[in-house]
Assembly symmetry: C2
Homo-oligomer: 469 residues x 2
């Protein structure tokens, strides 16, 4: 059992959570969804299958023949998520008279190369990779430029958050003739095996909790022995199952996975620790980490209240409305694609020791991880794959026109670049910011550093695409 | 029949002819041939097959821990050809204390992904592409750096001629973290559909003949009606079959293909019009175009002597020793791979009009070309494929550390860059030079411009890899 748990535990939540700033949902964004026919395999001639990739176009601000194309190379979500959560593209569109295009990443949302069978077996999943996705985007952009009136000479700026930020930056590197500049927000370019110790991520989560509320990390760390005690008996599991409203039966056998799910919940809170209310799976209050810390603290008196407090935090994240009948501890269908990418490309070693972080000891074992990937998908992870094929993480002196941002309070920033990799790129660390908050619509409650980050980025991108104004 | 002929006619000879400077063969080059196991498909997870890629290593001049790696990314020949014909790597190796590595391109030589079955059908040929080949090279170089003692921090300089020059330059663009600099000699980056008129190549061949010997182009153009007359009757074909010693029966039905083969022979002569004797399929004298022109001129008096003269030129190229029992008009097995690449990536439209060139009128029809590719390989050419996936031909402002050369008397230079595409690359046109002569061993009979080209290139490459001396 332990083996399985260790292997499962390395899986993190989505990089991109696409929480919606509550006000964003009320905005009346006008756009059209289209389909683009593209090849399933761009790199060999054996498979001539094609599929429909969804993409979104919004042209209300576009000045034909001179306005640029703002392009979102979709990552691990359905395309609509990016349309709503990438407010910066909408806000800048007016100034730049830009055309907005958002593309859906293959194997996510409805862009399924083999429809319902897309996740059936390795043969059908085999074409899920960053290179294939970028080739889709290159095809789409080339087609748009050739077929959309007034787009022929439009310069393309790629915007992306998290894995999407990697794609935006790598599109600029791999397709410089198509993408002129990129804004890459919260891209964990140093997440890969061999680039840093595996404890960074959860240490940063711990920091976010401790900085939000003094003593909070210690409080959280005190809850684990209590949960573990309950998790070791069938009766205790039954109690927790009710409190946490898990969809699956909780038993001592699957308790470790349940515990990891709670740990991931803290990580989600750190990622979306925004200064304004957002909607995740339901409404999330402004600065939710502080809120969570308050809840945990209030439950420190007895063991029972501790468990109640943890359950309350978890429910705040996944079921704030109370509409969900239960909470799903296991990955949902859409996460299947992401799990595959975690086994092939986006390999992110994580570990915790319970000393330097507020969690419990858990090692990262490449062997066990590899075995789990083989069992689950029939693929053996190549730990150096991304670093072999892309000039990451330092972009090897050749990258240009990329604006990198990170939030100082974002756990993923523990694996961020930390500085501009070349003299023709820029890096900006946003003080106090969580995961890619700078991509969202500007908010009246946001601190000054967010505003600064956006205006620096805007200035440089205007400069790079020679759109002086 | 016409349809077929037109379609066949677009196929040119190999870019890279790897003629050997006669003296090069006498040099005692010491090297070892190895095999490297790599994936048949680097871009999806469906096919886990691997194959053995051959590569050559020569380390007699190498200074471990500080010498660079000079790497030849093989193109459409067996690897040994490059070992002997890329003398510049051997000559510079001593000065740079470099390790020499030459890799064989998949589907050429003995690096056949599916052995004898490699060309059986599309399913087996599907993995023949520049991207897959470059991924092989990236794997090999990464492996060498990690496993060869003293290679860990060696800077890699890629050398290539013709299609190999494209690969060398594109390796620098696509894998800047692996390849630090490149010498790209005679790369026809503007050969692709839509970039220039189709008559350029054979007009340049005509120029080479005319410049080598005044009136030669006119003489050659006068031979076609004579050949055509013979080609129109079975008896005439029989006569020519004997004179040209063709392996196949020559008939009016396949005469057009035979005629194209003669045209290609003139193009070969222009490509290897070096100031020193070389070995191609047999010994070729120095400045062979002048020699050929003399032969043709001497045959101008009667129609029969004209045919004899053309036959003599053809035999000079393919059978100078007289050892071959016959001349093969049709592509050989190894050309099968190249024909496939001509249908998929290296699409080079050529046409002649008999007015501005010394040949006969022949149009280029994309439709017929596409149909022929479908019939032959089951693939439909994507005419913009290369330009969509690579930042060619102008390298879109981002390329660096590439030294491009062209020979002013090389027919392929008609599709060369003609200038440095970015400020961090260099371009050098070598006055009077034929196809990638600058990659060969320096020769006592070579003109000053060759020496200049090599020393400029050497200086810049030393500078780019910071090997000041």
């Amino acid at each position: 059992m332990t083996r399985l748990c260790v292997a499962v535990s390395v899986a993190l939540v989505f990089f991109t959570l696409a929480p919606l700033e509550a006000a964003a949902q009320l905005r009346n964004l006008t756009f059209k969804i289209h389909n683009f026919t593209t090849k399933v395999d761009h790199f060999s001639y054996r498979n001539n299958d094609t599929f429909q990739m969804r993409y979104v176009v919004a042209d209300q601000h576009w000045a034909k023949w001179r306005g640029p194309i703002f392009f979102y190379p979709g990552n691990e979500m359905r395309v609509e998520s990016f349309v709503y959560s990438t407010g910066v593209m909408w806000e800048w569109a007016r100034h730049f008279t830009a055309l907005l295009v958002f593309a859906e990443h293959r194997y996510y949302g409805e862009s399924l190369p083999y429809g319902e069978n897309s996740f059936k077996d390795l043969e059908h999943m085999a074409y899920l990779s960053s290179e294939q996705a970028m080739a889709d985007y290159a095809e789409l952009l080339t087609w748009l430029k050739n077929n959309l009136e007034g787009a022929k000479n439009s310069r393309v700026v790629a915007f992306g958050g998290s894995y999407g930020a990697m794609l935006a930056a790598l599109m600029r590197v791999k397709y410089p003739h198509i993408v002129e500049a990129a804004l890459a927000s919260s891209a964990p370019f140093k997440m890969f095996p061999g680039l840093g110790s595996c404890d960074r991520y959860y240490r940063r989560v711990t920091e976010v909790f401790e900085k939000s509320s003094w003593g909070c990390a210690r409080d959280v760390s005190r809850t684990w022995p209590v949960l573990d005690k309950l998790g070791s008996t069938p009766e205790g599991c039954k109690t927790m199952q009710e409190k946490f409203r898990t969809c699956h039966n909780l038993e001592p056998g699957n308790y470790p996975e349940f515990r990891d799910w709670i740990r991931r919940t803290y990580s989600v809170l750190a990622m979306i620790n925004y200064p304004f209310a957002v909607t995740y799976r339901g409404p999330i209050p402004a600065r939710p980490v502080k809120k969570a810390c308050g809840i945990i603290r209030s439950g420190m008196k007895t063991e029972e209240r501790m468990v109640d407090a943890v359950a309350k935090v978890v429910n705040m994240v996944y079921n704030s409305t109370g509409n969900n009948s239960c909470n799903n501890v296991y990955p949902t269908a859409n996460m299947h694609a992401y799990k595959f990418q975690e086994c092939t490309e986006l390999i992110h070693p994580t570990c915790t020791d319970g000393v330097n972080d507020m969690f419990y000891p858990q090692e990262w074992s490449p062997e066990k991880f590899a075995q789990r990937c083989r069992e689950r998908f029939g693929v053996t992870p190549e730990f150096d794959r991304m670093l072999k094929k892309y000039p990451m993480p330092d972009f090897f002196k050749t990258a240009s026109n990329i604006f990198f941002t990170d939030g100082s309070m974002d756990p993923w920033a523990a694996h961020g670049l930390a500085h501009a990799p070349t003299i023709r790129t820029k890096y900006h660390l946003i003080e106090g910011a969580a995961h890619h908050v700078d991509l969202q619509f500007a908010h009246r409650d946001e601190p000054r550093p967010y505003w600064n980050a956006r205006s620096f980025a805007r200035w440089f991108i205007a400069h790079w695409i020679s759109w002086y104004s």
